[in-house]
Symmetry: C5
Subunit: 305 residues, 5 copies
């Protein structure tokens, strides 16, 4: 049974194949938030992005790829997202228990590139082989290598489409921007718009700050009085920038922080119209019981919004 809300969301993807819509429905119809049109995703790529000790030492059972599958399943997340190796290690064992998103590109922090760009570390064929419901890809709008990433993503979306797999785009502005500019409201909204134009079915951005990076944008925000003061205001602008809310947009939590800070942030996002959260470190670096409680609380906030 598909709820009216899920049907409405699927209607925004009407140019897509039934296969794509079926997989979006699988995402929306799994876990605690099944059928609400809201979603919470557990992503675990920090082993690649920050190294194993920084990622898993705070909660040593999390060194094991099985841990994250079980956490995603037990917490009632809509999906679990990870790089190739981590999915390969446990996908067979947990087959059919939670929708999977294969993250196709990843960066490490052993050294820096002049133009930030992730390596494509897995293929659409791997996603098909592992029974995934979607693929994930990270773009860095603002990077000198952005055209390369946009073009890789084009090819990947095209190939994923042939297999009925929707695309989740992680959009992290980076490169020719100030540090604050990476999460400026104009920049985050711009990144969401670009992701939608590139063909993303689901967009993942960071929660925007009350700061405007680009002077041309600043003039427009002021002239038309676009509110940016509260988190809800800013989320609303980002959602509007994602085809007037007709693309699923979710927000990450960023760095580890106190439980109350996490929940407060999520309340702002929910109030602004976020479709949900994607929560990695704040979940798996906590002891399992705490993580389950936190994820349940986050889901409850989204359910009630």
């Amino acid at each position: 049974m598909v709820t009216d809300r899920v049907k409405q969301i699927l209607s925004w993807y009407s140019s897509d194949s039934v296969g794509i819509k079926t997989n979006i429905a699988r995402l929306l119809n799994h876990g605690s938030l099944s059928g609400t049109g809201k979603l919470v995703i557990l992503p675990v790529d920090q082993g690649f992005e920050h190294g194993p000790a920084r990622s898993f030492a705070p909660n040593p059972p999390s060194y094991d790829p099985d841990y994250h599958f079980q956490l995603g399943i037990d917490s009632g997340c809509n999906a679990y997202a990870a790089p190739l190796g981590a999915l390969d290690a446990s996908a067979d064992k947990f087959a059919g228990q939670i929708p999977l998103i294969l993250k196709l590109n990843n960066s490490d922090t052993l050294s820096k590139l002049e133009n930030p760009c992730s390596a494509v570390t897995a293929s659409v064929k791997d996603a098909v082989r592992l029974g995934c419901v979607a693929i994930g890809y990270t773009i860095y709008p603002g990077s000198g290598a952005r055209n390369l990433m946009f073009e890789e993503l084009r090819e990947i979306i095209l190939e994923a489409r042939e297999h009925g797999l929707p695309s989740v785009v992680w959009a992290y502005p980076r490169g020719a921007l100030s540090k604050d500019g990476e999460t400026a409201i104009d920049v985050v909204a711009y990144a969401a718009q670009i992701s939608c134009q590139l063909g993303a079915h689901i967009v993942k951005v960071k929660p925007p700050k009350d700061f405007i990076e680009q002077s041309e944008a600043k003039k427009v925000f002021e002239k038309y009085g676009i509110p940016t003061k509260t988190m809800a205001d800013r989320i609303r602008h980002v959602v509007q920038s994602a085809f007037n809310g007709k693309r699923i947009v979710i927000f990450s939590g960023g760095e580890t922080k106190s439980t109350e800070d996490v929940l407060e942030e999520v309340r702002g996002m929910a109030a602004g119209g976020s479709f949900g959260s994607i929560m990695g470190r704040n979940a798996f670096q906590r002891p399992r019981a705490e993580a389950l409680k936190l994820l349940a609380d986050v889901m409850e906030i989204h359910r009630k919004a």
Copy 2:
């Protein structure tokens, strides 16, 4: 029924397949200007090129991709042109109501590249899937990356041809040119010539200014007394430079400006033999009623020329 004028225009594409000619005819036989051999196209790529707030805040309903389809349909435009995401979002809903042009490459303004070059963000396969009548591609003649763009375009035209899709080339000189040089009459005419030589079926350039950038060209303009004083003079030279008028050339309006300024410019273009206009911001950033009126007036000018 195909008018004599449309038949004449199609005769210039006689080396092309019936499929290509059929799609050019579809463009020319739709909307208010159907059958006149003139055309007005609504292009909306500013979300990608300038960001969402700068593009859509002046007229907030335009955040929604549906808005532009409806505007293109109701105004009687010959076609609507947009990037992949925007077409994907609404093409199914408005199927068969307006000819579509998929813009295959796009630039953003989050950061600058040393050698200006758009990213290829969609594929000919997407255009086929979405029922488009043509593909669009932007070249930057004068850029250090122009050879790359010319070669990408060659591949795209070849592939589009296999699907009976004509190619619309946006030719924006940029790179090793002065700021005025980007719209200098010699440079714009050169860009139109290059586009035609590359195999463009339809060429889109900016209205040229009364300025000559290249010293070698200046000598020739003076020696042979090529007139460049009025907009009509300059449009005439550009049309002549597009295979003596045997390729469809249309002109954009550029930055938002007053209604009278827009119409005055269009009158000059029409007098010089332009095949029509392509008008984005000046249309969709106005309130809908104003936009409909403006587009109707523009079409009337072209019809009477």
Copy 3:
């Protein structure tokens, strides 16, 4: 009927397929010089290379692609060579009236590249579609990008060969050479040799000057007393450098000049054993009647040589 001279020329291509030899024969058996083993080709790529006004303003009917086909036909040239767009515009109208050579790569002069390199602007598939008898490709020996060009040419010759199309190589030394060095006798002969080694069926070079660029070559020219004083001397060395005269080598006329200067130059070329001329600007920038007269005179010189 194939003349003995044409049979002799074809014998130098005996490792090639019948298809290739048939197309070389079509070139040699068309127009005023049919069967003589000499050839005069009309090339029109200046619209792309120098811009429309510089190319066509001296003789405005030449803005029209049809003009050049008609000029090539009426003057009795062996072939007409042009970029994709120009051939596409008129090939159907003049089908079967003159052998066509599709120039697959072209440069523009809107800006300069650090390492001179033309863009590949058309494909062998286009040549097949347009009924061409050969493809053309320009290399810049001496450029820092020469390896790229040599490798592109290798791929193109291989693909053209599969379609029975011979390859005409325009060899213009450029890059790490003095200005005079670009047409130095040692350099032009070297460029002809490279073209032959790369697999060119027909080589087109500029008329060499009485100047030696490379010191290692200078020693050899002096030691072995290779004459370079007259045009005929120099042409003879270039023809010898093209597999001892077993590859067709033709020479361009370069910049527009007086009729007598053109003819004097052609007489020198003919005396030195050139297989013919390739004459663009000197033909189409003159009024049509003058151009027809000039081309007839040029052909007469080659016929009598």
Copy 4:
């Protein structure tokens, strides 16, 4: 017959095909350590990496590729790993006598690259042709060229997978790291994690030193008291970082050293949970009898661990 330990190891690769698991089993079921779940591999790529005299002059019979096959067979190693030419030279002669790993990329030391990167010198097709049980590939995490290597490896793993061949990844951090940092415990563990995430079935790293390179990692090692003092401590952390011990990790011996030093190091590795050793120069540069004794001693240590 497959032992329980081997069955357990194979269970960690349950998402993989039977073909991949069969080849991992072949590796684990060959030689002196057959069935123990431990493995010792003989790798000989030094001829390419350091040149012939530096590699083989200490033991001249080793100039002959046959020598290494025979040493691997007689010593009871689980496998012999080498570049294309060395395998090609002797694989037919020793067919079926020892599992082979084809090293697909190699570096030489005739000159340095700005961004360290090996050349891909052989193909998966070669591995299939030569009857190999696995392919090997070296990555340099930390190099400015790492993305290129990660992406090549992705393609190679994908292709190898189609042929049922598991992938052995040599992970040598290099580039934007201090000299000590290349074998720092945090860096080696990070390299192991990256290899696993990229899809490596078997990971080969250098023995880590009691040194932490990255300041962010240092904080975490201190905060959570991760022990790094003994070799066993450090090996334990690396093995944990390789999916909590669910990927096979083996360690090299590095530079030639005294027999006792080698064995002492191996004892530390074995105590820390290493799955085995990969030992090149320390084996083949010794006289054959000594090498056989050393390898037997190393195997004995691993067997007893």
Copy 5:
């Protein structure tokens, strides 16, 4: 009939297909040295590498591609090696009279590249079309572009193998080396080793000098007393470095020199175990009678070795 020596040589290529072995046998079983296991090859790529006058003016009949085929045939060489154009020009005329090696890449000396690298100017498909017994490829170990060359060669060997064509590798160290280092004994031996590891069936290097370039190598040559004083000593080390003599290694003569100097050098090579010579300029730049005499003398030296 295949001699025992040829059978022995073929046994070193036992992992290869019968097709490859058949073509190696064709090389070894042709000409004056047929069946001896020795070979002398006539290579003519100087027209491309040094230009036509520098190459052919000393003996003008050599401007003609037929000349070299006839010289190779009449002198009893085992094979003739040349670039595409030269083979194309005469291969049909001399079909079946001498084994041919198509040199797939070539450099010119019109300008220098920062990282020395030849252009790939012909394809394996051309070698098949022209009835060749092998392909040739030049690598520059030590060049900043060496990885590119090694990877191109990998692809070429793979493709050649599919057609039963063995690969002859010209290994010329160049780039980050001193001028003397390019022919230093350690460097030449290293280049031979690399070629063998890359899969070369036959290796061609320059005669090494009594000089050691790399300090790490110097220590080893001294420690193990590797003799380098005589040409025979050095050749012996190079042959040993080519899989202990299990790959065919031949040496070039380098610059034109006196007949006695050439023969003296060849005597040293033969004494050191060279499989033969490859002799270009020293042959074809001499008058034909002298060249035939010289080649006969060289063959006699190798036969008696």
